[in-house]
Symmetry: C3
Subunit: 510 residues, 3 copies
């Protein structure tokens, strides 16, 4: 630790924009702060530590291109020479917002949407619109297959004798479940008067609130929530670059990126040595600012080499660097062309990127050429530390694992198909859900958890997670135990039938 | 990081009590240290970094009320003007301690109990006595239902043919299991002579030792262990305020608070930005000292706003801020009135807060008015960063999730009740354990892990843990697969019976 | 945090070798850096922060014995007076390396092996050779029982009707699975020409690469990879001492050391207070440099007390301090004598340290006297903070848990043996794998995950992991549910047989 003090002291003596800049606040923001410093001290203090509070846009615009954190060519006049305070965001495009309300003489909106952030950050906004994440709400809830899957999880089940009845989920349960990450529909539904420390005041009541899901449908109709990763009200780039931010939605067995990172060499370096890295530098200099990538470094950030030359361009369309989609569906497959995946149709006419046997719906997915391009985009970062022998060796192994995990999923699916055919589970042929029975849940684990996890572990070299924790061991077991599950279902059906036949015979005799 | 150096350097120049105070040590403590600096260098060094070693009680008593870390109005004369060293705690109330022994001319006790700590910290001690945690030992081991559950886990099972026999657990296994967190009974059972680097010496041998469980029964008869959270011998408030402390007992699937925190927005802010927070300030100023709550901030700490006004009073009775008890029992329910839960009787006369169908034993649980009060206690912290739309929206969702998870537990319980009725498992009607068969273990998962986890994920907004990791997905699956489990048990019983009938028939024929 | 600044500033003023030393580079290394600063900026920057880059061996050799980080008595002349740069390692013993190639006029090797590191670190190398970890590849792949286990996990399964066929694993899948931690065989198989930013160049293509497994078979024939823990190219001792390094291979349920540490008191202290510890000091002073042990402190590091007296000698044969082997095999057992465990034969002639009933293959395992010695080695560290009452109480509990978990494994094994005998699974008597059926996988969990985990939780006092997360609860459940599994298999076999008999009878009638 000792050797980090010298440059720090020098930095302090020289001063830095964050420390020394005393950005002027707009009059309205001053007025907001008069009350909110006391009413909501936590978020005001967070904001005070932010770059938004300590720099004005006019200065931010003067920075050299690579150092700019603002992608607009110009900003509205009233914003240019004041800090980005309460009013600058919460009164910005208020006329578009159904959640606007009159508050102490001003029209204020509760929710700040990507459309609002786009005033200063239009490039990021535009990229994010093409990011599949911005469609996370619709891709789940407007896809009948996936809506059915969600219902099978969120609906309350009731039991009468040996019959289970699945109810339609309550919206409250959905908001507390899938929609927490996928995003909710946020709408003002009424106005109510509340007693506050400042007396009686009127506030809109929002439906679907609180929510910070990445595909949120905002009161201005826009899709997404920048605050999903750029947490209010500090909006620290440091935070967006740290893996714990991604962990909020990417730790569970369905998308275990964080779990895998933790046991990867990259994660190990991060966890052991990142205390003296610079997480705020723009652009982000490989080696000097950090010696191992975080999630953001590989997937999003603008990185440069030791001479300041661009290694990877910043992108908020994360799949720019991803040839394959390795989670969330029955088989890993080439990335969809459109961020709106509800338009996809497989060979059976279902809105899925592959058939149940794993054949890709190629018309809707990127081709080999585009995959090559995206693989190269990602590899640019790899090559900053690894030679081609390493990089190609790794990718060959990863792409083999995609094939192997798909093959293991096919094995389980073939068993499941027998269960449907032999009548011990009801499926598509019966016009029934393929997700709401015990044996179906067992089958789903193979692709929803184990196949995915094995692929993540491969992609990010965190084998500890991909063998026993949630990977190959479980894939192997799934095939074998699913076959036993089928056998037991067939046996108990057989007995049930015989007993009923016997009863029938006996009642016929009488 | 740069901007944190300036205030730090200023702080150093001004000096701080911890740095500059050279607290005098008592003669006895000096004597202890003469040997123990070398014999147990680790704990001596820890203590040397502590506030105990660097301040005297007389000075601590002079601080303004909100800044005081000591709740006694006065301390015994011999403690007032020396640092709180070895002797001050380990010879304090030695006459009350069955673990006392003569050591180099002094009467010394091995274990320091909450009763000892209460000399300077009586308010915390009093609150903790009413905290359900201080009864953790008895609430588990003096409740026959819960004792049976513990036995079903800790007892060794032996197998002879198709018969499993469960033995009564060995105390060593219990100490290594439940009692590690719940606390053990610590008693001096004999004295033995040991060879030490200082020659032969006599020491008491303690039963139930080592243990730092929160409900420990100490050699002076008191309940609890302050060191469960305020770890010896640094006793840093910083540590008690950090989530890894709570994780020691609250990470497993039975009480996954830490797991949920890690994927919550609060946890994300803590993990990304807490490097420059002040975890030692008393009182704890929201915004200035920290910008997102840790476990302690919501559940225990004295927090103040930016003007130093109290937001939440410190409490060591954690359920002061908790209307609902969401884990550890079959259904979530209103908090018990008494910390001693062995006195509760449900409608079936069992010492459980609800019936097997989920009906509350209302006479023993807090009512709606008290729940409202506790909810408001908790919400005071919420409002420091969130508006009422957010806070009420969140609580509405959480309290709906309590209902939904209880409904899902009821569904599984109805299946289990069929298993008992149809004779494929033995239960209360058979005067048998409801925890020691395969299908019973499967049922238990629904409430011991999945229901709880879903509620924790809701309470702390960590949905990633509450959907696929250990929540709603598993609750949904549990109902379906438990029904299949029942079906398989019925089928195999049917075959067994037929085969036995057949054998009987055949032997009758002969 | 305030009080850490003063010593830091003093340290800075005094200067430190890492800061002030301007080690001269060899000419060849300068040449390497000319290109690689730009070609692979990440690893060059990492190396620049390393001790290797900032000190020369001749100076390192002058340090007092306990402070030395280099165990050679002398180093080759050409290395003595330059920093340890690219060329010093990558051209060192090139004639022994099958991965050598001509690169810009120099013979360069890609992989640096323990044999290369031994030039300066021979003692560590020698110890590691006797460490069971250095044999991790062969112990898995040259043991037919364990090879079969690995195959049952890594082989792709295909399903035709109700028949599952297990294929021999592809090497790519093995590299991405077990071999990732156990180590691969790395060999140069051909040379290829690649387009680089410097024009066309020839490079060897390595098989089994990338790999950093602890038992890697290197291109020079040596075993092991120092970089498994001492990560390239910073080689920070700080990193090797931090638990996240061990987590790479010791987090999964098969060896959950990291998981247990996280919920132990030691882990809690580390996670809360290690911000101001000194992870780079050699020797490592207990109390002053750290107040709670990390993995390295207990298992590897050279630790001293406050007077600089040695508490524990450094060892890279980790089992020097371990009497018992508590994971990876069916029963916990005394440590093997030889690091090559393929030579072991149990009473059935299998290469396993115990019989299926748990009886030790004593001829191949250490005896009670050696166990006592190793227990004492470990306890030396314990005694630095704990008295003998604590230490012996803990060990008594741990060694009881070894017995209890072995007993619970025996219970499950007895059920499994019935399954083999009654013909619902095929085993050794059928000359078949004992790992590739559903019920066998269920049995394996008992010892591969639950028994191990319970023992780790006991050994490191992390009971939260050892009860519900992955310990005693699951052991108890395994016995009960495995018995049900057997019952269901027997029942469905019965039905299958009857149905086939019926069919036969019917076809006989016709």
């Amino acid at each position: 630790m000792k050797w980090i003090i010298v440059p720090l002291i020098i930095a302090v003596l020289i001063g830095s924009s964050v420390v020394s800049w005393a950005a002027e606040l707009s009059e309205i923001t001053e007025e907001c702060l008069d009350c909110h410093r006391t009413v909501t001290p936590g978020i005001v203090a967070g904001w005070e530590k932010s770059r938004h509070a300590n720099i004005i846009s006019a200065e931010a615009l003067k920075k050299p291109t690579l150092e700019r954190r603002i992608s607009a060519k110009a900003v509205p006049e009233q914003l240019a020479n004041v800090a980005v305070g309460c009013a600058e965001c919460h009164t910005l495009n208020v006329e578009r917002h159904s959640d606007r309300f009159e508050h102490n003489g001003y029209d204020v909106q509760i929710v700040v949407s990507p459309e609002d952030c786009a005033t200063c950050h239009p490039t990021e906004r535009k990229q994010f619109t093409k990011n599949i994440m911005s469609h996370a709400y619709g891709n789940l809830y407007n896809n009948p297959v996936y809506r059915d899957l969600a219902n099978s999880i969120n609906g309350i089940q009731t039991v009468t004798n040996s019959k289970i009845t699945l109810q339609t989920p309550k919206i409250e349960d959905e908001l507390d479940s899938c929609l927490s990450c996928h995003g909710s529909v946020v709408k003002a539904v009424k106005v109510e008067t509340r007693n506050t420390s400042m007396g009686k005041m009127k506030f809109p009541v929002l439906e679907g609130w609180p929510n910070q899901g990445v595909g949120r449908i905002n009161p201005d109709g826009s899709k997404g929530a920048c605050s999903a990763c750029h947490t209010r009200h500090q909006f620290a780039i440091e935070m967006a670059r740290k893996p714990s931010t991604c962990a909020q939605c990417h730790k569970g067995p369905d998308v275990p990126a964080y779990q895998v990172y933790q046991v990867s060499k990259h994660g190990n370096i991060y966890n052991s040595l990142s205390g003296d890295w610079d997480f705020s530098a723009v652009p982000w200099k490989i080696g000097e600012d950090f010696t191992a990538p975080t999630c953001a470094a590989c997937h999003i950030s603008l990185t440069v080499d030791n001479e300041g030359e661009v290694v990877a361009e910043r992108t908020h369309r994360m799949n720019d660097r991803l040839p394959w989609r390795i989670f969330g569906l029955i088989y890993a497959h080439s990335h969809p062309k459109s961020p709106d995946t509800t338009i996809i149709r497989n060979s059976n006419g279902l809105p899925l990127p592959t058939s149940l046997d794993g054949v890709e719906a190629t018309a809707f997915l990127i081709d080999a050429k585009e995959r090559d391009k995206r693989r190269e985009n990602m590899q640019k970062n790899c090559f900053s530390c690894h030679d081609s022998s390493w990089v190609h060796g790794h990718w060959k192994r990863f792409e083999n694992t995609i094939l192997s995990t798909n093959a293991m999923t096919l094995a389980s699916t073939k068993i499941m198909q027998q269960a449907w055919q032999k009548g011990v589970a009801t499926g598509l042929a019966d016009k029934e859900s393929i997700f709401n029975e015990g044996i179906e849940k067992e089958w789903m684990k193979q692709w929803l958890f184990y196949g995915n996890s094995t692929r993540f572990a491969s992609a990010m070299m965190g084998a500890d997670y991909g063998v026993f924790a949630n990977g190959r061991w479980k894939m192997a077991m799934n095939v074998q135990q699913l076959m036993d599950y089928l056998e037991f279902k067939l046996a108990s059906k057989d007995i049930l039938m015989k007993n009923e036949q016997k009863k029938e015979n006996e009642s016929n005799k009488k």
